[in-house]
Amino acid sequence: MSDDIRTLTTRLAEEPSSLAFLELAESLRQRGKLDAAYKVARGGLGRYPGLADAHDLMARILSDRGDLAGAFDAWSDALRLDPLRTGALKGIAFLYFRAGDVAAAIAHLERASEADPDDPSIHQALARVRRESTAAAPPPDTAPAPAPISPPAAPAPDSPFTAGVEDERGVLLVDANGMRLAGELSADDGSEAGDRVAAQLAGVSREAARATRLLGLGTWQSIAVESPGAHLILTAPTSETVLLVTRDASFPMARVGLIADRAARTARSWLEQVG
């Protein structure tokens, strides 16, 4: 074991709540000790789930381990916490580039360039992606469709809400990262709004939990939202999921609440089965 790793390990052991895990895991990663780096980073993330540095670090480790979907998630988490984090923007750009989605790679690198115009590595990466995309571009009529990196695997086609809650539409089950697990939601114009809304819901849940905790109101149970045209209820079937039920404003809010309670029970059972 090298001296710096020994020193960092000792420091982390003496002060487990310190941020020494960042340097230790990074040192381990750079030495190719990916399993050890992963364990240290995972422990640190458990203590500091709101730390963008920790998610960024975890993404680099997962990327080195070949878990590109995991790296994508971790960099997405880092960006959610720190939208101008150039390391995460570059990382996601790299993943898109590897998957052949040059436009998405360039878009992320341009965002990184706006965030840090003085970082020469971003300009070099942009130039390289543009150069290689031009060189590799086949004639337009034969161009194969790019294979974008999909953010995490799509939910199983079967849904917990096919029976018992009247209608799957207007019920959305979302994980802690704002990814849709089940359900559908349509906007007024008929377009699918589920993913857009899901991305917002994880943040709502965190804010609700923080508000009730800091104001001495205990654990959050539900949020009822009256909007002209619709009634919404948000609940947390488990600590890692959020459930949204929407109904037309002609439904009394208390009835929407009952539907949400039933949907939450259904979701819990389904999560136990698929989890």
């Binding site: 377009s191 709004a193 508000a211 104001l215 109101l217 205990g218 949020i223 919404l232």
Partner: protein, 115 residues
């Protein structure tokens, strides 16, 4: 008594209401307040204001108009919010046994007079 003070007064008279305040939802800062001891108006304005702003963005994502009333229920009490005009929001902190239905009606009436 100003319209604002009168509105806060009516809300705080509802049984179980620990305090009411008007906040700027964009800034999360208190504009006026009537609170019982132990209720931190500054924290309520900041935390609830932030949550209301996020809920408004969520409603927008779903193609809905901004919320007119929000009830955040915790197992020890609730926060009620009625957004009004000019980015102001009327907030109330209530206990578990509060008459939320009555508080809601008073808040919707008071929020309609905010400007």
């Amino acid at each position: 008594m100003s319209k604002v003070t009168a509105g806060l007064d009516r809300v705080t008279r509802v049984p179980g209401v620990r305090g009411a305040l008007i906040a700027n939802s964009a800034d999360g800062l208190v504009v006026a307040e009537q609170l019982m001891d132990g209720v931190d108006g500054r924290a309520v304005a900041a935390l609830a204001g932030s949550l209301i702003a996020r809920l408004a963005r969520t409603a927008h994502s779903a193609g809905l108009r901004p919320p007119v009333f929000v009830h955040l229920r915790g197992d020890e009490g609730s926060i009620l919010a009625a957004p009004g005009a000019d980015g102001l929001v009327l907030l109330a902190v209530v206990g578990r046994e509060a008459n939320v239905g009555l508080a809601r009606l008073e808040m919707l009436a008071a929020a309609g007079r905010l400007a």
